[in-house]
Symmetry: C2
Subunit: 286 residues, 2 copies
């Protein structure tokens, strides 16, 4: 661990925020860890669990004196929170985040923090069904990927410090262009989530659909597990990565229509060929 | 166990056929169990594992003398196999199956077996990633649902015997109308499978899609696990339940287009409301 901070502030002490706060404390990455959140009970839990030393319900106050700030609040609030905390940040503080969207949002945050703080965009690929500080798990990032999306404006020492942070959490750190990141995750993460929500929604519109749910063994259940995810988070992601998600949806809808056409035509050979191809590709995923 | 058979023939000794053959033998439901299949090595494995007593590679010969015949071959071959074995069946033999499609197929099979054998349509909701007799598991049906779809033509004693068979295998036996069955499974099983195949297929059509697969954590991976299923089986299912699958696809595509429209309009509130609704419904599934 090359970096060492006097004080770190984690904004949003949920599953991700609570877990990274706990890692920062447990590994001595900062001497003091401050939690920021709206829910006082949750912040008290975080103190009791030893994830943070103290807390504030006001982000502005919470960041004062910190040389590391980690945004773990909803990605849809990043811009507003960034504008709000900027005047209170220590000069040259390292600011990073755990948001699922990068791309244009990185440009916006870079502009906000320009000449004030050193922003390093990050996306740890981790999560779970549970939420709140109670769900925090210091092993959450063990073996997970964490994608840093630096730009030509990113401070190299801050980048190293954030890289070290996620490595200390056990993550495998990678780098990617912020716009490539959104294209890739639009395809492999955002599209499947929207598709899962759409499938559950579709079922409610089919005759007898809701009763049919009780027969949802393997197929439907697996397919739609992710529709149990946090609606507010997915709302934010859809709005912030709209372009890539729309493009992915268009290709997906075309694929569905193509299979529908083969079913209508009774073209068994072509259907089987499509299914074989998909199976082969799917088997490449560990 | 009220039913007792002298000889049972299981046509298709894969995961499902091998498992039910093993149950029939282990529970003494029939004195002798004959396996029918094309692959001699697989049939030898079934004998070695004690799932069957002997085998034939010819269905016609395999059914001779049996008072119970279980069709576990691909559902797309049922009609042809039924026509082929009919002249060789013992009079009033009980014929049942383990096919994922019912509806019109039940009518066809009833017509073929009319006045010759007593056909009882069944669909055990079980399966797995592995295939072949080697994968057979006498506990496969433990706690699983098995749906019988009798009609007004179904012989009541044969129905009881088949119900007893699946109960002996540990399944929870239910009854459903054959056409309702196809509508329900078109929604909760066939649609998600087609959707998963389409999603993997879509990825290959997106710019950089195949490279993106390596980032397919949670979302995509869960969503498309079922795209690893047997392509030939799904080809058959798509052809035999085309009407219901097309109808379900239409509603699903409309749902996707509706979400796409909300993303395009940047309507966060409506997106969140849709996601909340889907989450609530999804949570009803155990």
């Amino acid at each position: 661990m090359s970096a060492h901070f006097n004080q770190a502030t984690v904004i949003g002490v949920g599953l991700i925020g609570g877990s990274i706060a706990g890692v920062i404390k447990a590994r001595g990455i900062a001497q003091t860890v401050v939690g920021v959140g709206r829910n006082k009970d949750n912040l008290e839990v975080a103190v009791r669990l030893g994830l943070i030393d103290r807390y504030s319900q006001d982000a502005k106050k919470g960041v004062i004196g910190s040389d590391l700030v980690v945004l773990c609040c909803p990605v849809g609030s990043f811009e507003q929170v960034a504008r709000e905390i900027k005047p209170y940040l220590k000069d040259q503080a390292v600011v990073t985040d755990a948001g699922s969207v990068k791309g244009r949002l990185v440009e916006i945050l870079e502009e906000i923090f320009y000449l004030k703080a050193r922003y390093v965009p990050a996306h740890p690929i981790a999560g779970g069904e549970r939420s709140g500080a109670e769900a925090a798990d210091l092993k959450l990032f063990q073996g997970a990927r964490c994608i840093l999306t630096p730009t030509r404006h990113t401070d190299i020492q801050a980048l190293e410090a954030v890289s070290d942070l996620w490595e200390a959490a056990g993550a495998k750190v990678e780098r990617m262009d912020p716009f490539d990141h959104d294209r890739v995750f639009g395809m492999v993460s955002h599209l499947p989530h929207v598709a899962a929500y759409a499938m559950v929604g579709a079922l409610t519109k089919m005759d007898g659909g809701e009763d049919a749910i009780s027969y949802a063994a393997g197929g439907f259940k697996d397919f739609t597990r992710i529709a149990g995810s946090h609606p507010g988070m997915w709302r934010d992601i859809c709005l912030l990565n709209a372009g890539n998600i729309k493009a992915a949806l268009d290709v997906y809808i075309k694929s569905l229509e193509a299979l529908r056409g083969l079913i209508e035509a009774g073209d068994g050979d072509a259907l089987q060929a499509e299914f074989e191809k998909a199976k082969t590709i799917r088997q490449k995923i560990k």
